[in-house]
């Protein structure tokens, strides 16, 4: 926010970009944990060995995974509605990784849904592998797309080579970092969930995984600084100025989360881990402000009609008013991914179904 205000004018397009960025942040945190769960699902081992971990993953992301599509659709729709020309340029330039991400999302979403309802172990295994693989591939492509924008490689007409625009150091950094951050975040959340539900073995194993991933992600981030300096100078410059506070907060959040993990208190690592991810995504935004496509077009220049921008703000307020309360209700009702289902209320539909059942068995 400091960056936005530093520019002097909190313009209408800036307000819409801020809303858009809320969507990006939400997708990074919730979608990130979601994708990362698939990463751990993949590495959970044989059906027998990995059963507990997979069940844990299923219970943890079950209530929220659908909401994660909504963040993505939200970001896409706000981008094309508020900044149509920049959107058209972006999708044309990053055509290939976008296709990759789209295919990943279809396979992932469908496989997750179908695995839970599948009739045999063979079916469940097939869907499980599909789910896990696509969970790794999808954030990689999103990271690569972010890298193309951040390194100023998207021209306004979108006419670039389909491959060289994203097969670049910054895009590879973005892709690997995205996968790593997702895995780390999911490791923390899953360790916390397992700890809360009294599964010490599982909590310990996810804690170890999160610790190792955390070290790897930290190391990649340090290397990343060097890569950005040479390959994405505009963003690197921005990160050193208006983005700097966020980068520092992100680092501190990451370290705090790691410390709690080491202490065997994964529940406390949850919030600092989320802060670390939120801060780095906000930092990226602040770092590339006021560009919407770095070195190509600025936010104010790319903005669409004012009446439409107002419409988007109204829609956002409306969504917050009508959707957030039921969302909280749903999450509470679901026990926020708790493994234990609990007894049915005596006046529930389920109790009635049981009571009415023919007792000939």
């Amino acid at each position: 926010m400091t960056a936005l205000f530093a520019a002097g004018t909190f313009t209408l397009p800036n307000a819409v970009v801020a809303i858009l960025w809320i969507g990006v942040v939400a997708y990074a945190v919730f979608g990130g944990a979601d994708f990362g769960s698939g990463f751990w699902d993949f590495l959970a081992g044989t059906p027998e060995k990995g059963a507990a971990a997979r069940k844990r993953i299923d219970a943890s992301i079950g209530p929220v995974w659908e909401a994660n599509h909504v963040w993505l659709i939200f970001v896409l729709v706000y981008l094309w509605t508020a900044f149509p020309t920049a959107f058209a340029a972006l999708v044309t330039a990053t055509f290939v990784p976008l296709i990759g991400a789209a295919v990943g999302i279809i396979l992932r979403g469908a496989a997750f849904a179908l695995r839970k309802s599948s009739g045999s172990l063979r079916q469940a295994r097939f869907f499980g592998i599909t789910f896990a693989l696509s969970s790794v591939v999808t954030p990689f492509f999103f990271g690569a797309i972010a890298g193309a924008v951040a390194s100023g490689r998207v021209p306004l007409d979108g006419q670039t080579d389909a491959w060289s625009v994203w097969l670049t150091p910054t895009s590879m950094l973005g892709g690997v970092l995205a996968v790593g951050v997702c895995a780390w975040l999911a490791g923390v959340f899953l360790a916390a969930d397992a700890h809360r539900d009294g599964q010490p073995e599982l909590a310990k194993s996810f804690t170890t995984r999160a610790l190792v991933t955390g070290v790897v992600v930290g190391a990649i981030s340090l290397v990343g600084i060097v890569i950005l300096e040479t390959d994405a100078p505009t963003l690197a410059d921005g990160l050193e100025r208006s983005g700097a506070p966020f980068v520092i907060v992100s680092g501190l959040g990451g370290l705090a989360a790691m410390w709690f993990l080491r202490q065997g208190e994964p529940g406390r690592a949850r919030v600092p881990a989320a802060i670390a991810v939120v801060a780095i995504v906000v930092g990226w935004g602040a770092g590339q402000y006021p560009w919407i496509l770095v070195d190509t077009i600025e936010i104010d220049e790319a903005a669409g009609a004012r009446s439409t921008l107002w419409g988007l703000i109204i829609a956002f307020v409306f969504a917050g008013t009508v959707a957030v309360p039921p969302l909280i209700w749903m999450l509470r009702l679901s026990g926020v991914g708790s493994l234990s289902v609990g007894e049915a209320r005596p006046d529930s539909s389920y109790a009635k179904l049981k009571a009415l059942a023919p007792d000939d068995t």
Partner: protein, 489 residues
């Protein structure tokens, strides 16, 4: 010369002068991109129908269960909710893909008109979100909510579906009747000014299209559900649960069918008034004529109308209540601005024929129920007709969409932007098309396999989990299964 033709030729000039950068393969790209979009939408819309209309069926079953202490009805509600969750999940991913495709395939449309039509997508997204949330509430609410409140959580799911349908249809309606910006200015300069996103939403085609599509979702869902239970009964699982499931599906379709015929008439009148070239293709009006005959059957081959039965002045009389009214023919625009007339004609007639067939089936069922107090569920031919009615209603809906979409060609936004100017310049769309067909065939078969596996587990007395729902822990009461299942054996 009509004003429409003038406008059309103006925009043609613009479109010809614009795309210097368009490579030679654009035309081939265009065909594959259209097929890709058609295939993705055609797939998604079937799932959307369930998303919109299934909650109403579940509500009917659930309410009956609570009101009449009806175990079978409650059981149906519980099972349907789980099937709905699977279908909803697949619909969510195929819908997410569509939002990708809007940009990937049609950057010319989204880049130019994103801020004219985008707001409707945002509002549709909100209602989709609400639908997903309340579906979650309902699935978790089986144990955690008092039964009456639990039943009521189905209402916001159904209402969100209605609003979602409305907002997404406004975008398609806008493509048929562009509004909400200075059209003339755009046609002269290629610049979009005076944007009013609300006027774009409430354009001339919005209301008739919405009124015709909403009942379609209930018709398709009702008949597909009835169809599934009709198969079960024909295979010997003739118990009360199957009969009740069939009856609820049939009842919903029976209410929707007559409404669908009336709103279809409204929609056709609206097309005749606002989209005369599309109407000319639907009714095989080759030349602008006075006293247009009503044409049954027929195609245009080598510029000649073949195999048609004509009732003189019929269409003029039906549309304008004046046997000698004048209607625009296809020839009022240059050939390159005419839609492929036979595709539109066949699709339109197919929709009408199936629609009338479905209405006949509804009348049959309703008549027997009125005379004898129950549907003719022991009549094998009635059951067989219902088995066909499910897929047939899907076919009718797809044919309806083919009519309106192909009938608008070659425009992506009528008289404003050609599809050729909206399509991406990226190569390899043919490969994507093949990939998507493979992917969606796999997805469709996987969904059916899983739904069948769920149904087999229900018959064994198990309680399979659903994608949004809680983990199942205990086993539901087994139910009578008179004959071994032929499908899953």
């Amino acid at each position: 010369m009509s004003s429409l033709a003038l406008v059309s030729s103006l925009s043609l000039d613009i479109s010809v002068s614009l795309p210097d950068s368009t490579p030679v393969f654009a035309n081939e790209n265009l065909i594959y991109a259209r097929w890709l979009m058609a295939f993705s939408l055609g797939f998604h819309i079937v799932l959307s129908c369930f998303g919109v209309a299934f909650p109403a069926l579940i509500y009917l079953a659930h309410r009956r269960g609570l009101k009449h202490d009806d175990h079978d009805a409650l059981m149906l509600a519980r099972r349907w909710a789980k099937a709905a969750a699977v279908l909803f999940a697949i619909g969510a991913v195929s819908g997410t893909l569509l939002s990708f495709e809007m940009g990937l395939l049609w950057p010319g449309l989204m880049g130019t008109f994103g801020d004219v039509i985008g707001l409707a997508f945002a509002l549709e997204g909100i209602f989709f979100f609400l639908e997903a949330i309340f579906l979650g509430v309902y699935l978790y609410g089986w144990r955690g909510l008092p039964a009456k409140l639990h039943l009521l959580t189905l209402v916001p799911i159904a209402v969100s579906g209605v609003f979602g349908t409305f907002f997404i249809l406004t975008v398609n309606a806008w493509m048929n009747s562009p509004a909400g910006f200075d059209i003339e200015h755009f046609q002269q300069t290629g610049e979009v000014i005076d944007i009013d996103p609300w006027a774009a939403m409430f354009n001339q085609s919005t209301l008739p299209q919405f009124l015709h599509m909403l009942p379609a979702t209930y018709l398709v869902t009702g008949f597909l559900v009835a169809s599934v239970y009709a198969v079960g009964i024909l295979r010997g699982r003739d118990d009360r649960l199957h009969r009740l499931g069939l009856t609820i599906g049939f009842a919903v379709a029976a209410v929707a069918a007559p409404i669908q015929i009336v709103t279809g008439d409204l929609a056709a009148r609206n097309v005749a008034e606002n989209q005369p070239i599309k109407f000319a293709a639907m009714e095989l009006i080759e030349e602008t004529t006075t006293g247009v005959p009503f044409t049954i059957g027929g195609l245009i081959i080598d510029g000649e109308k073949v195999g048609a039965i004509e009732i003189p002045n019929g269409t003029s009389l039906l549309q304008d209540f004046d046997p000698n009214s004048t209607m625009e023919g296809l020839d009022s625009v240059p050939e390159e601005l005419q839609p492929p007339v036979n595709v539109v004609r066949i699709a339109f007639q197919l929709m009408i024929v199936i629609g009338m067939g479905l209405l006949t089936l509804v009348v049959w069922g309703a008549f027997v129920r009125w005379r004898k107090g129950d549907l003719p569920l022991s009549n094998k031919w009635f059951l067989r007709a219902l088995v066909v009615a499910g897929p047939a209603s899907v076919l009718a809906m797809e044919a309806g969409w083919t009519t309106t979409e192909v009938g608008r060609q070659p425009w992506i936004a009528r008289d404003v932007m050609l599809v050729a100017d909206a399509v991406t310049t990226r190569e390899g769309i043919a490969g994507l098309l093949i990939g998507l067909i493979v992917l969606y065939s796999g997805l469709a078969s996987a969904s059916i396999i899983v739904l069948k596996a769920m149904s087999a587990r229900w018959r064994r007395g198990e309680d399979p989990p659903a994608p949004y729902g809680p983990m199942p822990l205990e086993i539901d009461e087994p139910e009578a299964d008179p004959e071994p299942d032929l499908v899953d054996a």
